[in-house]
């Protein structure tokens, strides 16, 4: 790699101060699994200073707080896979984390890194979007909280302003324990990017789709929701036919591209299949009174 400077931030406040101090020449280093590989491959000059936040204690931890399920920005994918709290309340999040890369990259890569890198095929995105997660951002002018959807702007582009860092992801309390399914289709089982990924979440109170949400990855410039498919499901009896129809509607909402991995038509077909499977997986997790336990 071409030479660059390195400084380890003590905590998130320190990281923000360091970014302000070094200005445009600074770059945040989280798990490094994308950034360091990019630096080795790119012809562009490296940042002047790498601000390492991977060991900031205040950016770690998975816990239930007043607001909901809080996942620190620097929590690794492996920590999510192995978290008893996540496996118990939202196993789809653990499934999504387990589908990322391989053990070695999951042990280094962080959830916030996956979100902030903002590639459309990110595997952390769909479940978090379906669960209406918000993200807390810390910058020179303090903290702000935005919906995850508002973080995503385009491929490799987020709404983070320069000098801001993502500090935590929060799944609102009302959705902790909500039955959720995640599906991914790649060309291999290991270390494959998603051709399409999808997540679906709903309560099945009185046998009706209640608060259904559907999110899709790798079929638009960012991870997106499928509002028409959601509206179709809302209030309808929970049946497999309805799930299949929601999949077909979601396929019309996707705007995939054709590239060397797959054609747009193939990806649209995958959306229909994966949305149905994600809904089925969520239904398998739906248990009576679960919402009462969660709230």
């Amino acid at each position: 790699m071409k030479p660059f400077g390195y400084v380890a931030a003590q905590d998130s406040e320190h990281a923000v101060a360091l970014l302000a101090e070094y200005g445009k020449g600074a770059k945040l280093l989280a798990g490094g699994t994308d950034l360091l590989a990019d630096l080795k491959l790119t012809p562009h000059p490296p940042p002047a200073v790498m601000v390492d936040i991977s060991r900031c204690a205040d950016l770690k931890g998975i816990a239930i707080t007043e607001a909901g399920l809080r996942i620190g920005a620097m929590v690794t994918h492996s920590e999510i896979v192995n978290s008893p709290l996540i496996r118990d309340t939202l196993p789809a999040l653990a499934e999504a984390a387990l589908s990322i890369g391989a053990v070695q990259t999951r042990n280094l890569g962080s959830i916030a890194g996956n979100l902030v890198t903002c590639v459309p095929s990110m595997d952390s995105g769909p479940t978090l979007l379906a669960l209406e997660a918000s993200v807390t951002i810390l910058g020179p002018s303090g903290r702000r909280t935005i919906g995850l959807a508002d973080l995503f702007v385009g491929p490799r582009k987020t709404s983070l302003a320069f000098g801001e860092i993502l500090v935590e992801i929060v799944i609102p309390k009302r959705n902790v324990g909500k039955p959720t399914g995640f599906q991914k289709f790649g060309l291999r089982k290991g270390q494959a990017l998603a051709l399409v990924n999808a997540a679906a979440s709903f309560w099945a109170g009185e046998g009706l789709f209640t608060e259904p949400t559907i999110a899709l990855g790798a079929v638009a410039p960012t991870v997106i929701r499928a509002p028409k498919a959601e509206a179709y499901l809302a209030g309808r009896p929970v049946t497999e036919d309805a799930m299949a129809e929601a999949g077909r509607i979601a396929a019309t909402e996707a705007k995939p591209i054709t590239d060397f991995r797959a054609t747009a038509d193939y990806r649209r077909d995958l959306v229909a299949v994966l949305v149905k499977r994600a809904l089925l997986a969520a239904h398998g997790r739906a248990t009576p009174n679960r919402k009462d336990i969660a709230s």
Partner: protein
């Protein structure tokens, strides 16, 4: 910058440029060339080492990020008494052919067995998904890890067994790690 790590039980320091990866630190400064430079971008797993109990790609970690941590490389497995069971089994059963991927595969397997002493085939496959081998077809590696697990368990005394944390049965549906 100065970096100090505990590598294979020995505290070692070096003064390196900040862009130095853990892999370069190990290979070029500590002359531990067991971890291999393969793709150098985290795809092949030939550089796999264990940092604080976790298998990682040494090519994707800066030396500075490893400062103060405990690192085990393939050189740390064999003892005066002989090879580690994984090394022994891999050698005897032909689980390696050209051998370039071997140190990475063995370190991934070691990290797995440290966490799950008696893994299922699915857990072994999951643990080795980040280690590319173009010779063997993986089958003998997977059998080898099963065999090494048995060897390690049969040599484990009841006293050391008691200190091991059992896998949580309630969470068995999802593979660990």
């Amino acid at each position: 910058m100065n970096v100090t790590i505990t590598v294979n039980g020995e505290v070692r320091s070096a003064s390196v440029p900040p862009e130095t990866t853990l892999l370069v630190l190990l290979r070029e400064h500590f002359l531990l060339t067991g971890a291999k430079t393969g793709c150098d971008v985290g795809d092949c797993g030939a550089c796999t080492v264990i940092v604080d109990g976790k298998a990682v790609n040494a090519c994707l970690m800066l030396a500075g990020q490893a400062d103060g941590r405990t690192v085990t490389t393939i050189e740390g497995l064999a003892t005066r008494e002989g090879l580690h069971p994984l090394q022994k089994v891999f050698e005897e059963t032909g689980a390696l052919q050209c051998g370039f991927c071997g140190p990475g595969v063995i370190m991934s397997s070691k990290a797995l067995l440290d966490e799950i002493p008696n893994p299922t085939t699915a857990e072994i496959r999951n643990a080795l998904a980040g280690n590319l081998c173009r010779c063997t077809g993986y089958q003998k590696m997977i059998e080898g890890v099963h065999e090494a697990a048995e060897m390690l368990q049969s040599t484990t005394t009841p006293a050391t067994l008691a200190t091991k944390t059992p896998a949580t049965p309630a969470l068995a549906a999802l593979p660990q790690r």
